[in-house]
Symmetry: C2
């Protein structure tokens, strides 16, 4: 079973990269929205996680921008436990997959995932977020966006430290760190897919 994990700075396009990479490689794809939805339903229905994972119920989930700010909430241990449970269910399913965030690289360490981190210059991240937010129900000024980005990245770094004691986004924790600043994500996904094919061939 091949697992690729993707950590990312907010606004770096890491999630889109993951989705496209999953398409390129024909891997399953999981991100926070998908896992949250699985966890939430699970509270009401026993066996839901297993069947959701097995039947790919999440395939129909769109990539939704406004959901990304869900990251803002405080760190709740219960959520982390639920997250871990879903991750383990995904592993049990045994299908090659890409997992965005969730500190999956740390939690699933013994599965030996290929660990990617995506970063970009702050200016590029603000631009990307402003473009994505256009026409959405809530508009942000550039200044607000910058504040959001920084807050979310801080939250991600904190969660990671809580989960693993290791530093978020530092080179020694990853197999590949990509700077998306000057890339179209589509082209970056193709280039990265080639790189990863070599990795699994080697």
């Amino acid at each position: 079973m091949k697992i690729i994990t993707i950590g990312r700075e907010f606004g770096s396009g890491g999630r889109e990269l993951g989705k496209r990479l999953a398409d390129e490689l024909n891997f399953d794809y999981y991100d926070q929205e998908i896992m949250d939805a699985i966890t939430e339903k699970k509270a009401h229905t026993s066996g839901y996680v297993e069947s959701a994972v097995a039947f790919h119920a999440w395939r129909t989930f769109p990539l939704a921008f406004h959901h990304s700010f869900a990251d803002e909430h405080a760190i709740h241990t219960n959520e982390l436990i639920a997250q871990k449970e879903v991750l383990e269910e995904i592993v049990k399913e045994g299908k090659d997959c890409i997992i965005i965030g969730q500190d999956a690289d740390v939690i699933l360490k013994k599965e030996n995932p290929f660990r990617i981190f995506v970063c970009a210059d702050l200016g590029a991240r603000i631009r990307r977020c402003m473009e994505r937010a256009e026409g959405k129900e809530k508009e942000f000024s550039e200044k607000e966006m910058k504040r959001n980005i920084k807050r979310i990245d801080k939250y991600r770094a904190q969660t990671r430290e809580l989960v693993s004691g290791s530093k978020w986004g530092q080179r020694d924790g990853y197999d590949l760190i990509l700077n998306s600043t000057d890339w179209e994500i589509k082209a970056l996904a193709k280039a990265t897919a080639d790189f990863i094919r070599s990795w699994y061939k080697d």
Copy 2:
């Protein structure tokens, strides 16, 4: 003109990667030994840098392990100036090239180089260095090797800070960070060459 710069942790195989990448892409290749030799001769012969670069005098230089410890010396401003001069001469020549170390990514920033950094787990770096040192004139114990590695990395970080004020090996200073721990450098070079071809195509 395409310039690829490679920063690296000592023992990560960054130099070998650069050499192989140069072969893969048919780029010129420069590292510290080559540039030192050019600088040294220059002191005696006016016009030497220009002709050395132009006539590829360095092509015959072997990759020498023991030279790597040349990094140990203190930081001399004169050397940095000489280095810069050679780098500028290389740019003037206008041929696609790969430059190892020398803070070339910072010094040649306006040439918009593709900036790679290569890292690896400390254990892997010690192993690689021990293998390379085998049968050489000076043998190191594992402990000595570890100390050497740390000293050289510290030196590199310091030089970089002196030259640029920016941090060595931090994700925001590079386009691509590669962890060579679990790769054969030959295979990594092929995968990286593919990635870079996509970059220049994009």
